[in-house]
Subunit: 475 residues, 2 copies
Amino acid sequence: MNAPNDLRSLTTPRLDPRPVPPAMVEALKARFGERCSTARAVREQHGRDESPFDVPPPDAVVYALTTEDVAFTVALAQQHGVPVIPFGVGSSLEGHLLAVQGGVSIDLSRMNAVLRVNAEDLTATVEAGVTRKQLNEAIRHEGLFFPIDPGADATLGGMAATRASGTNAVRYATMRENVLGLAVVTASGEVVRTGSRARKSSAGYDLTRLFVGSEGTLGVMTEITLRLYPLPEAISAAVCHFPDIDAAVRATIQIIQMGVPIARCELLDAHAIRAVNAHDKLGLHESPMLLMEFHGSPAGVKEQAETVQAITADCGAGGFQWATTPEERTRLWAARHHAYFSALQTRPGCRAVTTDTCVPISRLAECINDTVAEVDASGIPYFIVGHVGDGNFHVGYLINPAAPHERDTAERLNRQLVERALAMEGTCSGEHGIGLHKMGFLQDEAGIGGVALMRAIKHALDPRNIMNPGKIFEF
Amino acid sequence: MNAPNDLRSLTTPRLDPRPVPPAMVEALKARFGERCSTARAVREQHGRDESPFDVPPPDAVVYALTTEDVAFTVALAQQHGVPVIPFGVGSSLEGHLLAVQGGVSIDLSRMNAVLRVNAEDLTATVEAGVTRKQLNEAIRHEGLFFPIDPGADATLGGMAATRASGTNAVRYATMRENVLGLAVVTASGEVVRTGSRARKSSAGYDLTRLFVGSEGTLGVMTEITLRLYPLPEAISAAVCHFPDIDAAVRATIQIIQMGVPIARCELLDAHAIRAVNAHDKLGLHESPMLLMEFHGSPAGVKEQAETVQAITADCGAGGFQWATTPEERTRLWAARHHAYFSALQTRPGCRAVTTDTCVPISRLAECINDTVAEVDASGIPYFIVGHVGDGNFHVGYLINPAAPHERDTAERLNRQLVERALAMEGTCSGEHGIGLHKMGFLQDEAGIGGVALMRAIKHALDPRNIMNPGKIFEF
């Protein structure tokens, strides 16, 4: 392996290539025919995600249709000692999909069958390429929904691999809590099933939780059994705006501490609102805003909303507006989900470097305030959105990719933010994962001892380092 | 290693002894003085739990006061290649604490400081020997509580080690979801800190979840950071009885499927009620009963209770009684918690063999009905209690330990029950863990491939197999 690059850097690290040998390409083409591609455009599409890293493409792309397709490919890769990188829709944010040593990208997007819905048990089993919206379409008529919503219409495999969460996590938790079991192809090409359909288990090591969040470095998930929830009898959404971010965060802290079972509690700063107003033709007040949603019985929702309205008013909120029809709610949440792309459009040609710290909620206001002061001083355009009920927020630095000093500044700001979050007993990544970008930060957070345990597990389960190598930590 | 015993057996397996050598005893006594004991009574007390297994005592017992004490002891054990078994209050149920190869029992019960309570963040950090009742006493004045309640006043270290849950899990989940971070002494004697105080994280492998439920086989937890919850504004409990178990379970299924956020939903069969009536001098109707608790705002609790009353009435329930004062509630829940000991007293000299299956809730009625038919036919006295909202129930077979055929019958019944639960996509252990008793069942459940992954992790993290050896799976 080459000397490591700075692992907190936005420069794609260059590791020793381990190209797919011609014999392996032949074997893949013999099995998969047109479902194995070495075309440049296809490879480049599979060597990128939404991160600002340069693309190193894989040498070949396989479109898997079955778990057996995946097992075949992994077993072959094991035999030849070449990397395997699982691919869903490419919406990851930390360089997870980049083929830093070449190898085969296994595209799971065609494994998109909802295999079983057990409405009585509130569970579903899906192939890894099913997206969250597709699942929700498939279960809506049963009166059920799957709440985890990272914004992008990611695959459930990708969401499990990065331990995703998003806007509903404050009430419904994250992929960690909502994956019951998995089918995984391990580094040897064997298929292992973890978990069961029981709601809880104390049967041995928690392999399910080990694979969830392992970013493809321990195996390829091909089937996922998930918890579902009854669609709430009543839903309502509300927005209100605050004189400053501090007031919005203080209101959030009180809502959480009072135990209000709020379903969503999102912060948008004035920059984010300005962007979505322009993109979605909305007329939202351009000051820090909370966008909230309440789920429950009609009386329960009313009670939650009244409590929250009183708290936010105490914190100086104004312009409390309700969105009770599905259309109004959809419009607001669509705007929230468009924040990232709307912000990109405010600076043509820019790329976003997105932070992902999460801190104990008592430190959230201080963390955001100090961060805003730093980024304001830097002159880099930015926006902030936050799953503030969880203490998680994202700063998007909108940099000109052709201007090295802007990259450097974004890196410096991100580093300062992570240092601040760790000093506050938080984490460098609330929901995006480590990928390439946060490998150095992981060591700062987990310590040498913690990373050594992770490496020991990786070496035990993938001794030849073929599963998405070069991610999370150095092998 | 000796040839394996039948790993589903109630006979304590006999493995090659690895006694603590005199030099190590001397080193322990030099550091710990009277906090290191080799007295027979002390050793025997530390070689048992609540399981029906025979006691193999450890060779020495160390009473740790600090993480450093634990690290010193483990490092010494590593050097001498002898087993280390963490001990809390001895309330485990599957033989977790038995020193099947000798070694040192590390008693953590004196590490019982509540280190920090962060009320604003709803977190606490405790030493591993703090019990759940002690923690709840310490945080009550802050308006907070820790909901996980396995019945016994277990240590939080023991609860984390077995991935415990209990009566509140239907709403507040299990130790898996409520442990945020750990300090762990690994097999090398190193101290590693996992997790953070953030509510969620995607930073690397989920080491916290790997240690939770690992039953002391990967390390000794010495500090635990937990999620807390605001004490509900209103609490009420209710009981109602049903013509048969089937009706009680059908009511439970409907309650869960409707998304009622019930906090506790416990089944007691007629045998269990008869036992607690005798023990606690209660006059409960001796037919299958649900004991429920509702948490929320006063209006929310009222609404939940009305919904549940309608559902249970539809299912044929009668005798709906409310316990709204704290005293009444405490009396009912004390009775529930005494069910195990009350049942033991119905057959003097008996021991209980306790099952722990958990199945998808749609299969629960069928699972219990078939189980009742089998155990009724066997003639063995028994009782059933169940965290039925989770699909988890316990049959306690009350056997005469001096009558081998009763042991055999209990083993057969337990085996049949586990086979049934696995065929229903459930688990052999909802909350007690594997220990000695369920090692064979774990293989049935996780498959050879799943157990091979667990063993690979164990070999990587504890290559000399000093951490609670002989538990969960064969090394």
